[in-house]
């Protein structure tokens, strides 16, 4: 689910349909995964320079029996991370933004071939305590599929990991806010109409994420399916990664006094 600090939206919610969950390759599942994920498994590598934090995450989500998450490796700096990721080929990497040796962006840069792998791509989810827009937008533009703050609960983190495994994007309210700022309407003419502007629908979805809505709630609010919400978010992510507007970060960073 999209909300880093929101409700516990685990498998216990009203509309549990295990049949849908059973098809492992179905992307864009309508339920959050988790304990009741029909035995789904995901292999994860933790990259963070704080051992205490790694231990905490490991304790919270690493009990494979309960969560379906299997932590197959850990790393504390850029070089280690690249080595471990290349060796273990996990499905999802939880990546800290601030790392010794060049930061999360450097890991993303050096793992680019693994990300682009058609067979079994390695996907990244950024995890950070940072409030700086350039950090957050930097890792997304570097190829991460989402960004959550470290205050996220274990259950929500597990959900986010499964979402990323499915190839969906995970936006925390804060990231949504940064993106809205970055794509704010300006006088500058867009270089590429398709990439430099958000559609009205995408803007609405982002706004609701920033207001703390979970994907399911957004779907209800806008009378669309969760799948549609996810595809909107993925489209925003794509624009964020591919847009050539160099001012993206600058706009997000500067206080936009309207």
């Amino acid at each position: 689910m999209s909300d880093a600090n929101g409700p516990v939206e685990s498998g216990g919610s009203a509309e549990e349909t295990p049949s849908a969950a059973a098809s492992a390759e179905a992307t864009g599942k309508t339920e959050p995964a988790g304990a009741a994920a029909g035995g789904r498994r995901v292999r994860v590598v933790l990259v963070d320079d704080h051992r205490m934090f790694r231990t905490g995450v490991q304790a919270e989500i690493g009990q494979t029996e309960r969560t379906g998450v299997e932590v197959v490796g850990e790393a504390a700096d850029v070089d280690q991370a690249v080595t471990v990721i290349t060796a273990t080929r996990p499905e999802v990497v939880l990546l800290d933004v601030h790392l010794p040796g060049g930061g999360g962006v450097e890991v993303l840069r050096r793992c680019a071939p693994l990300m682009a792998d058609a067979e079994q791509p390695v996907r990244f989810l950024a995890l950070s305590v940072s409030d700086a827009a350039e950090d957050v937008i930097g890792v997304i533009r570097g190829g991460a599929r989402g960004y959550v703050t470290k205050t996220i609960t274990g259950t929500d983190l597990v959900d986010s990991v499964f979402r990323v495994q499915d190839g969906d994007a995970v936006f925390s309210p804060r990231l949504a806010g940064f993106v809205l700022d970055a794509f704010a309407s300006t006088d500058a003419p867009p270089v590429d109409e398709d990439l430099d502007r958000l559609t009205q629908r995408e803007r609405e979805v982002l706004r609701l994420i920033a207001r703390g809505y979970a994907y399911k709630e957004i779907a209800k609010q806008l009378f669309i399916s969760v799948k549609t919400v996810e595809s909107h978010v993925s489209a925003v992510l794509r624009k964020l990664q591919l847009s050539n507007r160099h001012e993206l970060t600058r706009w997000a960073t500067a206080r936009r006094l309207v």
């Binding site: 409700p7 309210p173 920033a210 207001r211 709630e217 209800k220």
Partner: protein, 443 residues
């Protein structure tokens, strides 16, 4: 004197100054005064040092100047050797630039000041005195002829030196005053021209005008030679100096970080250990400290604003209210702000209503997790939403005599020309949406 700005400890009590109080009796050193000076600030500095009225010192200099120009020499020597500083007497003290440190040598910083008319007057006066001097002086023989070129040279040197003073002074000012670049260059160029003209004049008077061309060539050759010899050394020296300055700035920054961490973070950690068995208190302390540290780390201006200041933009106001409610009720409030604008009367009312909504959300919906606040400025419209994940409530079910929500949120918004909507979110919780049009720009 200078207190570390922008810090408030956890209980909201202003901290004691983080710096040791200034030494009550700093050693008296002689500086040239940089404010209220006429020429080089020598007289004012001396007066300040000796505790005399500045007029006396000036008169003494003028008198000595009449004595075969001794005053001029003396003045020049002082100007050359005495460092520019702050002080002197009778100057209207500009309000001290509030900074977190005093300059390394104990001088205070200045705020930028307009050039005063007195300086122009003073320069005119000096020209008059110089003319009188030229008229009176009797160096005998043809020496009188050399006077004018010498005066020219002196004027040029004075111009350039003053410029150097100004450059040094500007460094203490708030950085980023770049608009006077051209003026600076112009002044230096005029000074150089004056000196050149003076020197050339002397040559011409000596009757070596015929050789002027070759003399100039020779001088140029010498200059180029010196530049070749000393150039690399000078370049390296300036590089070293700027590097050293950078290191010093870095060290200062580090010291500031250390002071902040030392003061507030360690303090909080101590409190947390002390109240380890009180979960709510620990959470509240940790949140407050986290917020404080974040504000301090990610604010562009570094140290953040003083908590006592009234916020003057929307984003600041939203964050401030959220922080206060969070502290008071112990429920985490996540704030996302998109865009920003200055506050006006209507928006201030909206902020009050938003605060009320946050208090309600924290009080009645805090069990469901964090309260999410979203504020957005889009064109002329300012939108704020406050959402909780509590049990939700029904506005119609509230007795009419309970005026809380009706008055302080809905009523307040409508009186100020905005709208407020309360609604139950399908999956539980309540959301308050506040909309307000901004006042038209008056500027």
């Amino acid at each position: 004197m200078s207190r570390a700005a922008g810090r408030v400890n956890i209980d909201g009590m202003p901290e004691a100054a983080a710096l040791p109080l200034d030494d009550p009796r700093p050693p008296r050193k002689l500086y040239r005064s940089s404010d209220g000076r006429w020429l080089g600030g020598v007289a004012r500095g001396l007066a300040g040092h000796l505790g005399l009225p500045v007029v006396w010192v000036r008169l003494v200099f003028v008198g000595l100047f009449m004595a075969d120009g001794l005053g001029a020499l003396l003045y020049a020597a002082f100007w050359f050797f005495v460092p520019l500083g702050v002080g002197g007497v009778g100057a209207q003290r500009p309000p001290a630039f509030v900074s977190t440190e005093t300059a390394p040598d104990g001088r205070r910083r200045l705020v930028a000041r307009k050039p005063d008319k007195g300086q122009i007057l003073a320069l005119l006066l000096m020209v008059v005195v110089a003319l009188v001097f030229v008229g009176n002086v009797n160096l005998g023989g043809g020496a009188t002829a050399y006077l004018w070129p010498t005066v020219l040279v002196g004027a040029g040197v004075a111009l350039v030196w003053r410029q150097a003073d100004n450059a040094r002074r500007a460094r203490w000012m708030e950085v980023g005053r770049r608009r006077r670049r051209t003026l600076t260059l112009l002044r230096s160029a005029v000074g150089v021209l004056l000196v050149t003209a003076g020197v050339t004049g002397i040559f011409v008077l000596q009757g070596s005008a015929a050789h002027l061309g070759s003399v100039l060539q020779a001088a140029l050759a010498v200059l180029v030679g010196i530049a070749l010899l000393a150039g690399p050394y000078l370049v390296r020296m300036t590089q070293d100096l700027s590097e050293e300055r950078l290191m010093r700035i870095r060290a200062q920054e580090r010291a500031e970080v250390a002071a902040h961490v030392h003061d507030s973070v360690l303090h909080t950690l101590t409190l947390i250990q002390r109240s380890a068995d009180n979960g709510n208190e620990v959470r509240r302390l940790a949140r407050a400290q986290e917020r404080d540290l974040r504000a301090w780390l990610y604010k562009p201006e570094g140290t953040g604003k003083d908590e006592a200041d009234e916020p003057d933009t929307l984003a600041e106001a939203v964050r401030r209210h959220a922080a206060e409610v969070e502290d008071k009720h112990g429920v985490p409030i996540e704030v996302v702000v998109v865009g920003d604008c200055p506050l006006d009367e209507g928006l201030t009312a909206q902020m009050q209503a938003a605060r009320e909504a946050m208090v309600n959300a924290a009080k009645y919906g805090g069990e469901g997790g964090a309260v999410q606040v979203y504020a957005e400025v889009e064109g002329r419209t300012v939108f704020v939403s406050v959402r909780d994940r509590g049990p939700g409530f029904d506005l119609d079910a509230i007795p009419v005599d309970r005026m809380g929500v009706r008055e302080s949120i809905i009523g307040r918004m409508e009186r100020n020309g905005g709208t407020a909507r309360l609604r139950a979110v399908p999956d539980g919780g309540t959301e308050v949406e506040l909309e307000m049009e901004r006042a038209e720009k008056t500027s």
